[in-house]
Symmetry: C2
Subunit: 244 residues, 2 copies
Amino acid sequence: MLAKAWPLYALHDPHPQARVCQQCEVRRTALFGVLDAASLDRIHAHIDAPQLAADQPVYRRGESAAAVYTVRSGIVRFERVTEGGVRRIVRLAGQGELIGQEALLNRPYADEAVTCTPVQLCRIPRTLVDELGQAESVLLRELMSRWQQALERAEAWVADLATGAARRRMLKLIEQLCRYPDAADLIWLPRREEMGAMLDITVETGSRIVSQLRREGVLELLPPRQARVDPVRLAEALRAQESA
Amino acid sequence: MLAKAWPLYALHDPHPQARVCQQCEVRRTALFGVLDAASLDRIHAHIDAPQLAADQPVYRRGESAAAVYTVRSGIVRFERVTEGGVRRIVRLAGQGELIGQEALLNRPYADEAVTCTPVQLCRIPRTLVDELGQAESVLLRELMSRWQQALERAEAWVADLATGAARRRMLKLIEQLCRYPDAADLIWLPRREEMGAMLDITVETGSRIVSQLRREGVLELLPPRQARVDPVRLAEALRAQESA
DNA sequence: CGAGCCGTTGAGGGGATTCAAGCTCAGTGG
DNA sequence: CCACTGAGCTTGAATCCCCTCAACGGCTCG
């Protein structure tokens, strides 16, 4: 089985972590996926693969940034607190996305990064990327690609989740969450207070809209914090909302 | 004057565009500011410095991206249109910022980029950065820094301009615009319809709030599309708003 | 079993939208 | 010169959506 799954050059005494990375289900889409097995083997000594439960901080705003992370599974949110003390979620990141890129620029983290679900990460020390970056220009290209992806998502957040009526924003949020399905094709459904921080609405308004969508058959609630979505009715509801 | 302002090596028959870049007021802060004069001279042949009037497109969403731009002066906005046909401004860029980074990844532009004021740009063909990137790792670092800056701004947009009551968002917008003052220390004041697209409010609401701020002495209107801000009263108004 | 968190639902009020009218100002042509 | 026009801005009145305040039920956990 080992000989069947791995190319020959990887058979020669790989570092233990190398096995994990080789088998990592997101390797195709993750940052280091672009590196060959030799480079991979060279770096695993320094890579850690932490796992966190839901609602745990990955890093905090202002912390000096020692590492970037790849999300292997689960969902991470980015939070900010306005001067008035209002907490606002400004972006989500899911499988394959790079978070904490500020580390590569020797800057403190810009947001609070908190897990939404149980999360598997791949922790990559800042210095490691610097070293590899010198040699591997393909890695740098991949890095820039991640940066652009994050920027793209942040802008889409404004257009989708911060525009229009509360019901529209909620439907857009559910649409977004469908991009991160779990094994049983269920989605993670935030608690009402988190919905509020994402859409800038109150928990009561959030609750009312969710209940309404449940009655309309768009959403089937599976507490705690899970739901099944009817894609057809969701699309229908979105169309009706946009044309209204 | 020439000998006094320029280092010796730059005196030796520089490319015409090299003179422009050497004198460029944003060279310290712009992308190519990190390059030495020799590298600068090597590339000017390909660099164009277009000037645009207000409300002119720089590029359009979906266009294949042939170049990135540095903003030398003026303000550029990024627009998106939701599926329902609502136009939303998702970010601004001012002096020294890099726009159209998608070009470096061979992707189509993600937004409509439109000038808010008269704008001076520095147009940098995609291929040029690729070439230089091979040799100059300091350039790549600077590039990543720009990307992070853009991401930072996009997230701040959500937290500042898409959160809370309309009056708070307007005050935050004015605070933002104070970061791009003109020669006479006046700010560019968007027309009401543009404010609407930035803050997701109607022109009427925008007008009411601006009028109110004018009566309170926070803002002095200098049509067309300019204003003087009283920084003390602005800060005061913001404090009162946040604590409310 | 009481405490606390989370979610839901109702009633009332306030802020933003909608609809409508009038204003200023620059450009145009009689 | 001045009426005419249209775009942008302002203001008012009515409506509606969302927030606020409040009460209640389900659930977990000490």
